[in-house]
């Protein structure tokens, strides 16, 4: 089984578990470092950490803060174990984007690549989302100004999150795909949410893993990359700088092939999808490690097999 196939399998399984696991009684808790969206209703198999974070911060009670501490602890443990593989291998919204990408590929349409400068400028979006998720709930809990507006700001990031609109929709639930006319705040927030959702669908169709560059959850996860068990490593001497890893990278991370000194190339945006390892033509130039032990390494043969130049070896 190739890594790509394994990843697709896990993505599909976790999509069903996270979105429909509730039907068979699965509940993985409220601290999942992935878009396990509570808005899908009873069928959900767990709850997204960001939702719980905003909820507990917005609650403001001392108990909520203790609960929050516990959630952060569990969340951290989960992230330390597999790092950002949550994004590349589990996230349902990531899966949805991958499906759109697959359709594009089958249609033999090319993808869009943003210029470096634009990418750098857009990099602040995830920080904006993060501060929305962090600061607005605090304001909601302690409305020192404009309390009337604050009232309508519960789960502010969730209102903007494309997951809230798209994931329920995938289960046939159209309730969230509307503008909420309750107040001006809700109108603005739900409109923005819809806009983001549409741009995700269009974007992911044109650009690989479009949303992942702006996802605040990804930002949170990237902070753990130095202590996480899974790492992407590179043997700089073996690298020929052929750029293959950059061209296959859904997040378009350049630094992996440009790195010339450090072994650790788990960069903040990296979702550990390991496509770069699969498509690296040099033996052992790139590898994924778990607690320092190599679990997957690039091979020249593997490269040529994936290019359909030589037959694929079954054990690869």
């Amino acid at each position: 089984m190739t890594v790509t196939k394994l990843r697709w399998t896990i993505l599909i399984v976790s999509f069903f578990v996270l979105l429909m696991g509730g039907w068979i009684g699965i509940n993985l808790g409220g601290f999942l470092p992935t878009y396990a969206c509570p808005y899908v209703g009873g069928s959900r198999g767990g709850v997204c950490f960001l939702f719980r974070l905003q909820y507990l911060l917005g609650n403001g009670s001392p108990e909520a803060f203790i609960g929050l501490g516990k959630h952060i602890l569990y969340f951290s443990l989960l992230v330390i174990i597999i790092g950002k593989a949550w994004c590349g291998w589990i996230c349902p919204l990531g899966f949805f984007q991958d499906v759109l990408d697959l359709i594009r590929r089958k249609l033999h349409m090319g993808y869009i690549r943003f210029p470096e400068r634009l990418r750098a400028n857009l990099g602040c979006i995830k920080w904006i989302f993060f501060f929305i998720a962090l600061l607005i709930p605090l304001w909601v809990a302690h409305p020192i100004f404009a309390p009337a507006v604050a009232r309508d700001f519960s789960q502010p990031y969730c209102q903007l999150c494309p997951g809230k609109h798209i994931l329920p929709l995938l289960l046939g639930d159209t309730n969230d795909v509307t503008v909420n006319f309750k107040s001006v705040t809700t109108i603005v927030m739900s409109m923005l949410g819809l806009i983001f959702s549409v741009s995700l669908i269009v974007g992911a169709f044109l650009k690989r893993r479009f949303w992942c560059s702006y996802c605040p959850m990804g930002l949170l996860l990237s902070w753990y990359r130095k202590i996480s068990f899974i790492k992407l490593k590179k043997d700089c001497q073996k690298c020929t700088m052929c750029e293959a890893c950059y061209n296959v990278c859904p997040l378009e991370i350049e630094q992996v092939f440009k790195e010339r000194e450090n072994e650790d190339v788990t960069f903040p945006d990296c979702t550990l999808c390991l496509r770069c390892v699969e498509y690296c033509p040099e033996d052992g130039a790139l590898r994924a490690t778990f607690l320092g032990k190599t679990i997957y390494r690039s091979t020249s043969k593997g490269f040529f097999a994936r290019q359909r130049i030589i037959p694929l070896v079954p054990d690869d």
Binding site: T240, F304, Q307
Partner: protein, 441 residues
């Protein structure tokens, strides 16, 4: 026939004879080896057909939609011209970088004295049509790599149609990579115009481009297999044979070449398993670095191996680097294929005309390790400033690794062979002593 043209004809005939002679001497020398692998004959024959008999039967293109009379041959220089595009359009790519002493002495008339012999020979070949191959090219594509190659484009345009392909010299920046991609899109359009005219039959289509990438990829896979085989200790193939086989790719179709290479590789792997080696473990293992040795200029490789050393690896653009880096694509869209092609022909290339070119040092270090190299012969063709420039860096890192480096500056002329022989022999002797000492502890 006027007196002048008659004179020209006689002059040309003399050069042609000289070329055929020197090429045949080299080839016969290779064939004298009683241990010559069966699979090598194919490659020797290609060289003989091109340089001695002056005929090319090897040109075919499985994607060619034109009739045989209308097929286009596109000459290329350096290794930045994407063959995949040429194949996909149904044309035939031929690499023209010249290695003949006779041709370079003709070229002397056209270029400044200090120009490198590769450029001299290429101009010599084109100007006097020493071999018909150069005449048959409908167009030649010249990437702007080093100064000499760039100006050569101008000079060659007196004799043939020339397309310049602008290669950025700082490859890391996003702008230059984007510009390179644009260049390739433009080249694609030009090739389509050449092969198809107003008709659609010359268009480079997705499917053909994909197959062309696979076809060249197949050749690269085999070239890499040879590369792996050359790592074996003790060596199973002399460097000059391996280098000739790679060099023959210039004049052959990727498809045919890959087939022949598969045979050679199978044979060599079999020999390796049976322990049939071409030199003992005491023979110094040499990395031939620097300017390319292009057939029939087999001066340095022959001298080195006559002195008892084995060239286990070379890093020149006519040798190991020629077919090393493959095109990596993940989807069949035109965008992705073009991006993949653009990346392959620019990024991993460690031609010293790029700056910064630190990658080359990494590549050399890697070779030293992988191939168990004892010493480096740093070949500098006279006038090849860029390679000479990097010698300082190479010497520095090799000193740290305790690998001796010998710089050999020469051109294609045979006159300095005796001097070189002493120098190379002394170097080989030095390596042998060092090796013996290590072995004895």
């Amino acid at each position: 026939m006027t007196k002048e043209t008659d004179q020209l004809q006689r002059r040309k005939a003399r050069f042609v004879r000289g070329l055929a002679n020197s090429a045949e001497t080299m080839l016969a020398g290779l064939e004298e080896n009683p241990e010559l692998p069966e699979g090598m004959h194919y490659f020797i024959d290609i060289m003989r057909d091109i340089f001695v008999k002056d005929q090319e039967e090897h040109f075919s293109n499985p994607f060619c939609r034109q009739d045989a009379n209308n097929r286009k041959i596109i000459g290329t220089y350096c290794l930045m011209v994407p063959e995949e595009l040429i194949y996909a359009a149904g044309a035939i790519p031929v690499r023209l970088c010249g290695g003949s002493y006779e041709a370079s002495s003709i070229g002397d008339e056209f270029v400044p004295r200090d120009t490198c012999p590769v450029v001299k020979a290429s101009i010599g070949f084109t100007s006097l049509n020493l071999i018909s191959l150069y005449q048959k090219c409908d167009v030649v594509i010249i990437p702007t790599t080093c100064d000499a190659k760039r100006k050569m484009g101008e000079e060659l345009s007196k004799f043939t149609e020339v397309w310049m392909l602008e290669v950025p010299h700082v490859k890391e920046s996003e702008g230059s990579r984007r510009q390179w991609l644009e260049q390739l899109y433009a080249l694609k359009k030009n090739i389509e115009k050449l092969t198809g005219g107003r008709f659609v039959c010359g268009k480079i289509r997705r499917r053909e481009l994909d197959s062309a990438i696979k076809m060249v990829g197949r050749a690269q896979y085999e070239a890499r297999r040879l590369y792996e085989i050359r790592k074996s200790f003790p060596p199973v193939i002399p460097g000059r044979e391996a280098m000739l086989a790679i060099n023959a790719y210039s004049y052959d179709t990727a498809f045919e070449w890959a087939k022949a290479m598969t045979g050679l590789n199978d044979e060599l792997e079999d020999r390796r398993d049976k322990g049939r080696v071409v030199a003992g473990s005491h023979a110094p293992r040499i990395l031939l670095a620097g300017s390319p040795s292009i057939f029939p200029n087999w001066k340095i490789p022959s001298l080195l191996e006559e002195m008892g050393a084995v060239i286990v690896v070379d890093e020149s653009c006519m040798g190991s680097r020629y077919l090393y880096d493959p095109v990596g694509i993940t989807e069949k869209s035109m965008t992705d294929m073009m991006v993949g092609i653009a990346a392959r022909y620019l990024m991993p290339c460690v031609c010293p005309s790029f700056a910064p070119n630190e990658d080359r040092l990494f590549r050399l270090l890697q070779m030293i390790e992988e191939f168990n190299v004892d010493g480096i012969i740093y070949h500098v063709l006279k006038g090849c400033i860029v390679y000479d420039f990097e010698l300082i860096r190479v010497e520095k890192i090799m000193k740290e690794k305790n690998i001796p480096v010998l710089r050999i500056e020469t051109d294609y002329s045979p006159e300095d062979i005796e001097q070189l022989r002493t120098r190379i022999e002394a170097f080989v002797e030095m390596l042998e002593t060092k090796k013996k000492k290590i072995k004895e502890g």
